[in-house]
Symmetry: C2
Subunit: 351 residues, 2 copies
């Protein structure tokens, strides 16, 4: 029942007040529950008078259909979203885009945190599945491809930040190979030859079905080798701490890189910390770049050179594709976002 209706029960007790149900509406309007259901769903087969009366009663009683109960038979109007982390910026920005897109629809997003462990992610996705969502948007899952294909067969699914050509779900992904190459090109144009990359472990994913960071590695390696430069990759995690550790490792080496390309902005922030702690000037002694163009990268004080992969637009597109699937589309769609270089102070030497 709507909390806006005052409750006069005894203080301190939890109200036992019943929720207003479809039957209350039916009774009050003097029609059947089926009729009310049809009106709610804007289904065919109700007379204008019926519709009118029911609509009025719904308003009078301040009735809201119980999304959970609806989901047991039909649609719950709920979209489940898995992010690996709430506190790293990129995934939440994608979620924001999803939420924006869904705002125009009767659908509601619910977001859960999956972490980076495949089995925990799997439990999180199942937790959504068990809460009768109508569809799923999964960001950067490390779970096996077959498992995702099975999932996509059971429920409309869109996967973000994972490459390949799946058969039973859609993907929205940045052209990470191109993005990495753009960054290498940029760093080379600034005179660098010892360019290192911080990445994450592939999580056992290989071939075409890899997560964004692995594809960025490939793009980086290809671009380096095309110039006969030696790739230097350190794999930690996409986090401030992970970037910090990777940078510490790199800065200790004898052939210290003059540029560190972090696979994610959040890691680049940790790289910056390590570089500055080491008493090295950015960008004069070590240039630093990231990937994602999270909000903080553009702050003047940070001025992080990075690749914009349009987190919000990624979210909006995922939501749009998912709704199409919920409406019945089964052919897989692969949506590729075009990455854009954002040159800022951490790589551009002032003269």
């Amino acid at each position: 029942m709507t909390p806006s209706t005052p409750n006069n029960g005894p203080t301190g007790d939890r109200a036992q007040r019943r929720r207003t149900t479809i039957h209350d509406v039916a009774l009050s309007a003097g029609v059947s529950a089926s009729a009310v259901s049809k009106v709610i769903r804007s289904a065919a087969g109700v007379s204008p008078q019926m519709r009118e009366r029911v609509t009025q009663t719904i308003a009078d009683l301040n009735y809201r259909p119980h999304a959970g109960a609806r989901g047991m038979r039909g649609t719950s109007f709920t979209v489940g979203v898995m992010v690996t982390d709430f506190s790293s910026p990129f995934h939440p920005e994608v979620a924001e885009g999803i939420s924006n897109q869904l705002d125009q629809t009767p659908f509601q997003e619910i977001v859960v945190r999956g972490g980076v462990d495949p089995s925990r992610q799997r439990r999180s996705i199942e937790a959504l599945f068990d809460r009768q969502v109508d569809g799923l948007i999964v960001i950067a899952p490390w779970t096996p491809q077959e498992w995702l294909e099975d999932l996509g067969r059971e429920i409309p699914t869109v996967v973000v930040a994972r490459h390949g050509a799946p058969r039973h779900f859609d993907t929205v992904v940045s052209d990470d190979n191109l993005g990495a190459r753009l960054m290498v090109d940029h760093l080379v144009s600034q005179g660098h030859t010892r360019i290192a990359l911080t990445s994450q472990p592939s999580g056992g994913l290989r071939g075409q079905y890899v997560l964004s960071h692995t594809e960025r590695e490939r793009g980086y390696e290809e671009a380096m080798r095309a110039r006969s430069l030696q790739p230097q990759i350190v794999r930690t995690t996409y986090s401030e701490e992970g970037g910090y550790r990777a940078a510490r490792d790199l800065l200790d080496r004898s052939n210290r890189p003059t540029a560190i390309f972090a696979g994610a902005d959040i890691a680049a922030l940790g790289v910056l910390r390590a570089v500055e702690e080491a008493g090295l000037r950015v960008p004069d002694e070590v240039a630093v770049a990231g990937y994602d163009d999270i909000a903080v990268a553009g702050i003047s004080r940070v001025g992080l050179t990075t690749i914009d992969q349009s987190a919000r637009e990624t979210g909006e597109t995922s939501a749009r594709l998912l709704l199409e699937r919920i409406e019945g589309r089964v052919d897989p769609v692969r949506y590729v976002m075009r990455p854009q270089l954002r040159e800022r102070a951490t790589t551009i030497k002032q003269r």
Copy 2:
């Protein structure tokens, strides 16, 4: 049904495969559904053999109870969380704490975005309510106090970042008055007298039931007046853009402040941008401070002086309190976090 079971249906079709239900388990184990239910819930009144056999069958069939269906009669093991934004850092960090705390329990959090408009927030909270959550954690709601009290009477509820002594829900809140005073003290100790504050509108909330930012305003005003200093408050929003606009406004004034205290770190980042764009040096010409101690504040490049209000611990505490309420506690608990000053480069002049 578990996506891990391979599906051999025709390619391109959505599987019509049935979910494994409690009845499948009952049938397979040769017992009643009630018995299976008791085992799942660890309820009393099952023989060891029964328990054994059912447990085995559940494992064999890879059965997971349907959280949605459970919620229709009993507990859904789901906790709903409302944040105003996914992309501003503070609320997601609180959500991270909630998720951490719940990780040890059978409960699962689901997070929705409520925005800053009270009616949209209300719809978001109702959306959670309608998805049979067992309890609610609401971060910084602008909705009227009576509405929240009614909500708390209907469902276990914890409200974060809102002051006052409610009767039907718990609160977890920083001592914002103290936090603001700590910051004014610090800025005064650095020699400032023209100290401005960026805040947000109170949203019509007054008296004791105000959101954190309004209480910070009060603490700031009291601290300023106690020193016979003139308060200067600009109200925009807690966002990078909001901080930027507030700072632009302040910097244009004839009695330009020498220190700007942003009510939230995210706004402080915008203040920094405005100050630097204006060609003023931080902290020599304008000192800048924030509130929250979000992760990025501690990055060397940012070095933002701020107040740590322990977002993660706030989340963990909220989750703990909520579980107590779900278990039956009805007396309201008010948990006050003690704020701590973090002095960094944006206010400390180097010599």
